[in-house]
């Protein structure tokens, strides 16, 4: 019999996904990405003229990403997440199309029930899609963790908060396309090399599922809008 996790999932199963797009009136683009109980809201403003000279770059747009945790003030760890999100998005946004502008991405965690960094990146990508900012691909991510159980160590895809706390190691992996290598990776903990690559493999497969989901929901939104215009 296959072992199941505390919420009844199999090891390589991600939680149900849900998304809403364009839910904020004032933002140029917004999205809420829900993965199980984890829920993250992202808003995009811009491309807009840079408010300060420091932010202005003649060769392309500047990305200004802020990551707000569920509660409390931003810690060093949140600053690290923010840097990872910014650098991942910088790679995909076609910045040279918008010189001297700033694209602000504000990411607010609503509920943190594990894999929050992945959900944040997925929400940001959907918000950028919704804002119509040109991108070379979709930066999407899934988190994995390695848990030691009585029957040995196993790779669990898309862990919830409790699983994350018990984990020996967690790895956040972001990809741009299926089989296109790793865009970003943030792995911490203690694991063997084989386990690390097993995580990368599992996460790549996981992102494929997320990718189809994001594509489908973006398509549905466009179709629905086309219907109402007609």
């Amino acid at each position: 019999m296959e072992e199941t996790r505390r919420d009844g999932r199999r090891a390589n199963q991600i939680r149900p996904l849900a998304a809403e797009q364009g839910i904020l009136n004032r933002a140029d683009g917004s999205a809420r990405f829900v993965q199980g109980n984890t829920s993250v809201l992202a808003a995009v403003y811009g491309p807009a003229p840079a408010k300060s000279l420091r932010m202005e770059r003649s060769e392309g747009a500047t990305l200004d990403v802020s990551f707000k945790p569920e509660s409390g003030i931003t810690s060093s760890a949140d600053a690290e997440s923010e840097a990872l999100l910014r650098r991942s998005l910088e790679e995909v946004v076609l910045r040279s199309r918008y010189p001297r502008t700033v694209v602000s991405v504000i990411i607010q965690v609503i509920v943190d029930d594990g894999a929050v960094l992945s959900a944040a990146l997925n929400a940001a990508t959907m918000a950028l899609l919704n804002a119509g900012v040109e991108m070379t691909g979709m930066a999407l991510s899934v988190t994995c963790c390695i848990t030691a159980t009585v029957s040995g160590r196993s790779v669990l895809l898309d862990p919830c908060k409790a699983e994350e706390i018990d984990a020996a190691a967690t790895a956040v992996v972001a990809t741009l396309s299926a089989g296109g290598g790793v865009l970003s990776c943030h792995a911490v903990g203690s694991m063997s090399q084989e386990e690390y690559f097993a995580c990368c493999e599992a996460a790549s497969l996981g992102t494929t599922a997320v990718r189809s989901f994001v594509r489908l929901s973006a398509e549905q939104k466009v179709n629905r809008e086309a219907e109402t215009v007609r």
């Binding site: 690290e80 840097a83 650098r87 790679e91 790895a171 790793v182 792995a187 911490v188 694991m191 090399q193």
Partner: protein
């Protein structure tokens, strides 16, 4: 064209010419790490319990640990605390400004803390005093003295050097207070020695330990933290061009080879001092 002018005007092609021939502008091979020096106990141990000065080429980083006694928080009974703060001051480079810690400083602080705590190098319950009624708080300050690229490696090596040197002083409990005594210090147990190696990718070629000049030209960089036994304690790749599984594997292999030598250097430095 003169060499200097070429480097200024077209640094990318300047660098490409070197890399094609398997060398780098500073004379290193593509996968060679700059010479690493580790000096432990450089600060007066009356004031700073443990310290380490690490040189990675001309990148220089000083780490110091001071101790405080406190009560464990209710969420984490029996656990001490590790507080890491990386300071990037204008002293080391004109790229840094004084005032609030920059994003890079936050990223490095979290990187060092995660590498030490999550890898199991430092077990926080080891810091409990008197059956967990009190606990040590390690305040680790890491100051960059000279910046020539690859701060991630330099900061973590310095942190590990200081940590391996740290002795916890003896304590005596009188009523509800803890007094630190001069006698019978105990060596802190460092269970693993996680060491880092940052590699960069340029034209799909892997380059180890990038210097400041190289950092700006690389399309991505990967920092791997591993122990000499081959355990992986961290892989950090924030954005940049995508890395294939093969490239990641190479970075991991390089780090594990490097770890064997580096743990010996660290152990030797600590042994000389004590």
């Amino acid at each position: 064209m003169e060499v200097e002018a070429f480097q200024r005007l077209d640094p990318e092609n300047f660098y490409r010419r070197f890399v094609k021939n398997g060398v780098r502008p500073d004379g290193r091979e593509l996968r060679a790490v700059r010479p690493i020096s580790v000096d432990v106990g450089v600060l007066s141990e009356e004031r700073v319990q443990a310290s380490a000065l690490v040189g990675l080429g001309s990148t220089k980083v000083l780490a110091g640990i001071s101790l405080q006694v406190g009560h464990p928080s209710e969420n984490t009974p029996m656990c001490g605390m590790l507080d890491v703060e990386v300071k990037l001051t204008p002293l080391s480079s004109s790229k840094f400004s004084s005032g609030r810690p920059s994003e890079q400083a936050h990223v490095l602080s979290t990187f060092v803390k995660n590498s030490i705590v999550e890898s199991g190098a430092l077990v926080l319950t080891d810091l409990a005093i008197d059956d967990g009624a009190f606990a040590w708080k390690l305040c680790m300050d890491i100051v960059c003295l000279s910046f020539d690229g690859n701060l991630a490696d330099a900061t973590l090596i310095a942190a590990m050097g200081a940590l391996m040197r740290l002795q916890l002083p003896g304590t005596r409990r009188i009523d509800d207070e803890i007094f630190v005594t001069e006698d019978t210090p105990t060596q802190l147990v460092v269970r693993e020695v996680p060491v880092p190696l940052t590699c960069g990718v340029f034209d799909g070629i892997i380059i180890a330990d990038p210097s400041l000049l190289e950092e700006e030209l690389l399309t991505t960089h990967v920092t791997v933290v591993s122990t000499s036994e081959g355990k992986v304690c961290g892989v950090h790749k924030p954005g940049g061009s995508c890395a294939s599984g093969k490239q990641l594997n190479e970075c991991l292999q390089l780090c594990q080879q490097h770890a064997k030598q580096l743990t010996q250097t660290l152990a030797a430095a600590v042994r000389i001092q004590s």
